[in-house]
Symmetry: C2
Subunit: 515 residues, 2 copies
């Protein structure tokens, strides 16, 4: 075995099943190693941000670790924005980065950079292999770090000479440590739920809390006490839809979010962090809860919560309570122009059973969360780190991580363009992804934000930086260019029909909704 | 004036004329500031790597500083690979990165990251504005750093509250310091050129040396002494073609490069670093010159060289010598399949006068440098940092930096896909760029590299990571989707015809060459 084979064999024995690759010369031995380590499936992306976003989506869908294989510092850099999103999502990812041979580094060849320094701001753990003796233990440590605390980003830097040399060590299996059970004192939460339930909110976040069983327990508490159930604005994967207790999403704009929390005296944090504004604005608060709101932390992000939540159910006497679940609502087939409302109605009607939704429609997502509350059961994945360009890549990974589920990627035109290369990987892997692109010919959210700066209107010059209409993007043409069948719709009826058809057909498809 | 206006006014007074933007909410005040600071032209890119690569291309074309305007750490990360290339090219770039308001940072909102840490590995200078009193001096310092040492990468981090607040200071003008004149001792070089001229090479690199006047002086020395003239494999912008002394390019593959330098006893470094292999390979040398080769450094990278070169001309008595210039050669209209040879012949025949060539055709570039030596005068821009995905963005910047010149971007299918969004900006700005995509349905260079690892053949599994044929990319469809007229050619004749037509037409065009 050479070093590359020991590395991948160690990762495979430790549970790795998929690697999203965009390799270069310094990774050729790692590519070749996958001939012998067949337990790991390689999936090619044509841009590194596709690979890192797909790794994020895979882990969101199934909880397992996904790897990427990227080319030195610049390859990692190209993937770094989606690594940021993965880190904020609590996804389990190992980014494997090839480096120059150890003795070549000092020569400062053109592709030389400080890879660890590039990785560190977006990684929980950086493992630089430095000698032949640590390739197995180092790889195992990177894998273990990815599963620590419920999901982390780990970077594994592999110098080329360690990969190509005959290995001096055997593969090992990583010891994966389950995250600690949530152990917050439930006393103050029980008290608040008894004393002022309607002014108490259970605020759930992260993989330990956003699970069917925990949400069902939260639903019992809500049914028994009348408290509110909330989630952060953007989350890795929220189980929702018919039969599940509904969680209220925190509004995106700070002023609306302040209203959302205004009546809350006690916020019980279950895997979520204290809610803060996405951005600061002049004379607007950055902290969304009232200054006198009492924050009670019951679970750290990623910590398993079932035992603690069961105790909380007992504490408030809710074990016999039946969670309130959303009442199915038939919006009827929408008609007329595609607006945020007719759009959401069409989506709500056609979410396939157990689908995973990757939402990056930004301004056009406005009515989606509310109107899909009673859709068929599904998972909702959003832009956890705010780094736009994750919607399509996350859909790739989700489709591979949850092969029985349809994936629906709902994206704006602006957001789709950051990682449009994703379409090709969907075609190559024949993934069950329905891509819905809202083509409004603008960074519409930024037009909102510009007006919110106090500008009364958007100047012609500013519009050249916020509008995408000249020339207008043609997503059907681009999809065709990358092998994905596509259809354009101009009305809500046509959108509804296209979604109905797409829900029945396998393989990738793109629907371009002109608005 | 608010802070944003003071920042842009300071940059404009210090010579900034263009900013390549992909802004977000935290940059809205900076976008609005361009309404008043009209001396700076905003150009929108749909992905940050387009912006940073365009800034690089602009500076390569005209030497002036270009700015980018990007959205926090993830926006910078998306542009970082092309910042790496710009840094290695010695281009003058100021990356303006918006950050959260100073008081918002500690809340760790989703988009929070350590921007300075992300910037540092790829920047010569990082300027973080920390208070209202330093927004003018800090902006001027960032601008000055971009022009130091002949061209540097500078990062300017602007917290949103400093941008939106009423400014406490006035704009200033940066003091730009010209780089020091080359001051190496010419004695040993004169001696080598007299004693063993045919075993001496003048090795020119960087902006200080790769200029018409310096190359003309090098040509005189060559004509007088018989020495060789060389350049590194990849360079920012090499003036070449009819009427100019020809510089020999260092081969890409280490074994060929070792042969290239094998007869050289004295290598005279004029703005270039000692040549090293792009990658290390088992049992192959990383240093390309012979161990006993004498390296003589006459100029640091970026240092102006005309005075020193004039002294060298005098030192070898070459002031009356006439540089040898390449003899024009008519390849005739190529025919048959598109091969590296017929491809290069067609390009060589149709390079427009004073064109700038952005070369990222990788494996298909093989015959281009040699066969275009006697083409119409042109500048040759290549992938200085080895981070693929710069070819199309650099062409954007070059077209804006040298408005009288046609730009030809020659790219592989694999390389084009990293920053394919560039096509839209070419269309929006109606840039005079001819994009030639070689569609060979593979990362062909990696297929070479895989065989060079010692593998006898490429396994089916490895081929899934190196081949792009399933599905085959359709660049005409993608170009149409982004507003660029496109044509597909399957033969050398059709390629030749398409290039002849394109050379006469204004505006962006794409030619997809199927091979």
């Amino acid at each position: 075995m050479n070093g590359a084979e020991v590395i991948f064999e160690t990762l495979a024995r430790s549970g790795l099943e998929v690697v999203f690759t965009n390799p270069g010369t310094s990774e050729m031995q790692l590519v070749a190693a996958l001939d012998t380590v067949t337990a790991v499936r390689p999936v090619l992306g044509l841009f590194e941000g596709v690979c890192t976003g797909a790794a994020d989506g895979y882990s969101r869908a199934c909880g397992k670790t996904a790897a990427t294989l990227l080319h030195l510092g610049p390859g990692l850099a190209n993937g770094l924005a989606n690594v940021h999103n993965a880190k904020k999502a609590g996804s389990a990812v190992v980014n494997i980065i090839g480096d120059h041979a150890t003795y070549h580094l000092e020569l400062d060849a053109p592709l030389t950079s400080d890879i660890a320094a590039v990785a560190r701001p977006m990684s929980h753990h950086v493992e630089s292999l430095v000698g032949p003796e640590d390739i197995a233990t180092g790889s195992a440590a990177a894998m273990a770090a990815s599963q620590a605390n419920g999901g982390q980003v780990s970077t594994l830097i592999v110098p080329a000479d360690l990969a190509w040399s005959t290995a001096q060590v055997d593969p090992v299996t990583a010891t994966l440590t389950a995250p600690s059970q949530a152990d917050g004192d439930i006393g103050p939460a029980v008290e608040a739920l008894r004393d002022h339930p309607e002014r108490t909110m259970l605020f759930l976040g992260g993989r330990g809390a956003l699970r069917d069983d925990v949400i069902a327990l939260a639903g019992k508490i809500q049914a028994q006490t009348g408290c509110r159930l909330g989630v952060p604005t953007f989350n890795g994967n929220v189980p929702r839809g018919q039969g599940r207790a509904a969680l209220e999403g925190t509004p995106y704009f700070a002023e609306l979010a302040v209203n959302f929390f205004d009546s809350i005296d006690t916020l019980v944090l279950i895997g979520a962090k204290p809610p803060v504004a996405f951005f600061a604005y002049p004379d607007k608060p950055s902290i969304l809860t009232r200054p006198d709101c009492h924050l009670v932390t019951l679970a750290a992000p990623g910590a398993p919560c079932v035992d603690m939540m069961t105790a909380l159910v007992d504490g408030v006497g809710a074990d016999q309570a039946a969670p309130r679940t959303p009442v199915p609502h038939d919006f009827g087939k929408p008609s007329g122009p595609i607006t945020t409302e007719t759009f959401a109605a069409a989506i709500a009607r056609h979410i396939p059973e157990n689908a995973l939704i990757s939402d990056e429609a930004i301004s056009f997502s406005m009515n989606l969360p509310q109107m899909t509350l009673a859709s068929a059961p599904h998972g909702w994945m959003s832009c956890t780190g705010g780094a736009i360009g994750q919607g399509l890549p996350v859909a790739i990974g989700a489709a591979i991580g949850a092969p029985g589920s349809k994936v629906m990627a709902i994206t704006g035109d602006g957001s789709a363009m950051y990682t449009i290369q994703s379409l090709w990987t969907m075609a190559r892997e024949n993934l069950d992804v329905i891509v819905v692109v809202v083509n409004n010919a603008a960074y519409n959210i930024l037009q909102f934000e510009m007006l919110r700066t106090g500008a009364n209107s958007i100047s012609e010059r500013a519009q050249t930086m916020l509008g995408l209409g000249d020339p207008r993007l043609d997503f059907c043409a681009m999809a065709t260019g990358m092998g994905v069948p596509a259809v354009r719709v101009d009305t809500a009826e046509a959108l509804d029909d296209a979604l109905a058809r797409a829900a029945k057909e396998p393989g990738p498809q793109l629907i371009e909704a002109m608005v």
